[in-house]
């Protein structure tokens, strides 16, 4: 019992340390690497939420979804349409985010329902098509009635704000400067923490076990009395909810969205985060999201470095980025097929 108390106190101390580190992170980064990197961290947090949402569908329930970015788009447009001059509507924040989550969940069910009997490759193709359909709709819904403003996108999207307190303003508090990127950092961090908590708790629950059972053997799962239709739809809806929330946050953060931000390549990036990090393992997926957001940014420095060392830019950094990215994927699949940080179970599975 004493030991347990001790362990628990130790755990709380560890949590407190992590919390302090995370709170100090944007200021430390701002002071050393510059404000661009605080912004990159913000984006990484958004992608963490997205990757964890996709992880429910792909990692837990084993349903390969190649159109996941569609839910991100639905959430973003839901927010932007109701909080921008586009239609002159400026709905309050407390309505916008839940609504975006709800609408995205609805789209999740809409995608899930016709694909219930599909598995593997076939499911992947249908979901891929779904993602493209959403993007093309957004691109073309400017005629005959201008709903989405088509490829020009929606500008001047309201920032996250309650009354006059807007995250897009700079505040000073106790000698610390809170620039917009700092403000958003804390909101995104809180949301990401919430998504992590929900993921972890669901994984270790009756619903999570049902998802994993479907992944492992759908026929046996049905024989055990699992209503595979509802449980799969629930996975799609839960995954889409996370996507919808991060979509709304993204729209507010950027202030501008267009269909360009929601391409197949984005779906594939999110899937890479899940797979590279460690499918079905929350810490791994978070790691995957952070790494895959930060690494391509870090590779931007390769250009100036070439200049410094070689006197000229030998290889265009953006070409190099894709090259190195591809190489990293191949090496990963060869040497760590279960992901960078797989769950213990998957490690055992691949060891045999």
């Amino acid at each position: 019992m004493r030991r347990l108390m001790h362990d628990r106190r130790l755990a709380w101390a560890a949590y407190a340390l992590v919390a302090i580190a995370l709170a100090a992170l944007p200021f430390a980064v701002d002071a050393t690497l510059g404000r661009t990197w605080v912004r990159i961290i913000d984006v990484a947090l958004l992608f963490t939420m997205l990757a964890l949402g996709l992880n429910i569908v792909v990692g837990y329930a084993g349903l390969l979804d190649l159109g996941y970015v569609a839910f991100f788009a639905v959430g973003a447009y839901c927010y932007a349409l109701l909080a921008s001059p586009q239609h002159g509507i400026h709905a309050p924040l407390l309505l916008l985010l839940p609504l975006g989550a709800l609408v995205a969940a609805g789209f999740g069910v809409l995608l899930g329902a016709p694909t219930l009997k599909l598995r593997g490759d076939y499911l992947a193709i249908v979901t891929l098509g779904f993602g493209e359909i959403i993007r093309i709709f957004l691109n073309n819904l400017n005629h005959p009635f201008n709903l989405t403003n088509g490829p020009q996108g929606i500008t001047l999207v309201d920032p996250l704000h309650i009354g006059d307190f807007a995250l897009s303003k700079t505040y000073t508090l106790g000698g610390l400067t809170f620039a917009p990127v700092h403000n958003y950092y804390f909101v995104f961090l809180a949301c990401a923490a919430l998504v992590v908590l929900v993921s972890v708790r669901l994984e270790d629950s009756r619903i999570g076990r049902a998802w994993i059972a479907i992944r492992e053997d759908e026929t046996a799962a049905r024989a055990m009395g699992i209503n595979t239709r509802n449980i799969k739809l629930l996975a799609f809806a839960m995954g889409a909810t996370f996507g919808g929330i991060s979509g709304g946050l993204f729209a507010a953060f950027q202030g501008f969205i267009s269909p360009e931000s929601f391409t197949l390549l984005d779906s594939i990036m999110i899937l890479c985060m899940v797979v590279l990090g460690g499918m079905g393992h929350v810490p791994g997926v978070v790691l995957g999201a952070v790494l895959l957001t930060a690494l391509p940014e870090a590779l931007r420095y390769v250009g100036p470095l070439q200049n410094q060392w070689l006197g000229r830019v030998l290889i265009d950094p953006s070409d190099l980025r894709m090259l190195l990215f591809g190489l990293a994927l191949v090496l990963m699949m060869l040497f760590r097929p279960a992901g960078l940080w797989p769950s213990k179970v998957r490690k055992r599975e691949l060891a045999t």
Partner: protein
């Protein structure tokens, strides 16, 4: 009142009639064997009974009520649990988790309960865990609770599948060749387990090729051949039935 009454079950696959007017009655508390040569329709009958196939004719009365079979998970909820001829465990879940999945149909916790860790959900989760552990001990694989299902020895996998089926609290436990591939010792252990399950009040429907096991275990058996029931009765009687001998050994020897 009998537990299960199958009335003129017919199943066709295209032009092939896999089951023709199968009628049989399983009494409460008995071990009922379903035997027959390969391809006789035993597993097809199982799949119709457990909702994996739709019957083309006939119906089931289960526990005094018509069994409206539309989907497999409703059959499990009604109280029929099955195992598979080729073991179908959740390979990358632990033995304990496999049995915990079996509790799904008798529990209620949803997303909200799990996320908020509500008292009811936590109590239920504890009960699921305790019951799953009990069942693992019951079938004799308690020591391997934390091992992945696909890492267990063959005999343990068979018994784990039975534990998972028992977790759904079935009135009727339908086992598709549980002794297939087992050695004599494992079969003897299985026989004791099945006798104990019956003694604890669960009726068993058994497909089995191991004649010795069927004869020693079943109260009654039905013999299928080419989708028809050709004999039914006590094992000792069926064993001497001329039609059965012909079905198994061919007409020339009968």
């Amino acid at each position: 009142m009998s537990l299960l009454e199958a009335r003129n079950i017919t199943k066709r696959f295209g032009g092939l009639e896999a089951l023709t007017d199968i009628a049989l009655t399983i009494e409460r508390g008995e071990i009922y064997g379903l035997i027959g040569p390969n391809g006789a329709g035993k597993t097809t009958f199982f799949n119709v009974l457990t909702g994996f196939y739709q019957a083309d004719g006939g119906d089931f009365l289960f526990d005094g009520a018509p069994l409206d079979i539309t989907t497999a998970h409703e059959v499990a909820a009604a109280g029929i649990a099955r195992t598979f001829q080729n073991i179908r465990l959740f390979g990358n879940m632990t033995a304990l988790e496999n049995v915990m999945v079996g509790r799904h149909v008798r529990t209620r916790a949803g997303v909200v309960g799990a996320v908020l860790r509500m008292q009811s959900a936590r109590d239920e989760e504890r009960a699921i865990h305790a019951r799953a552990l009990d069942l693992l001990e019951y079938v004799g694989v308690g020591a391997r609770q934390h091992d992945l299902a696909n890492s267990l020895p063959y005999g343990d996998q068979r018994r784990l599948e039975i534990a998972r089926a028992l977790a759904t609290e079935p009135k009727l436990l339908a086992l598709d060749e549980p002794a297939a591939g087992m050695n004599a010792t494992e079969t003897a252990t299985l026989k004791r387990l099945l006798e104990r399950i019956r003694a604890d009040g669960t009726t068993i429907l058994l497909i089995e090729h191991d004649v010795k096991l069927v004869m020693g275990l079943c109260d009654r058996v039905a013999v299928l051949d080419y989708g028809r029931k050709i004999a039914e009765g006590a094992p000792a009687v069926v064993q001497r039935d001329a039609v059965v001998i012909e079905a198994y050994l061919g007409g020339a020897l009968a």
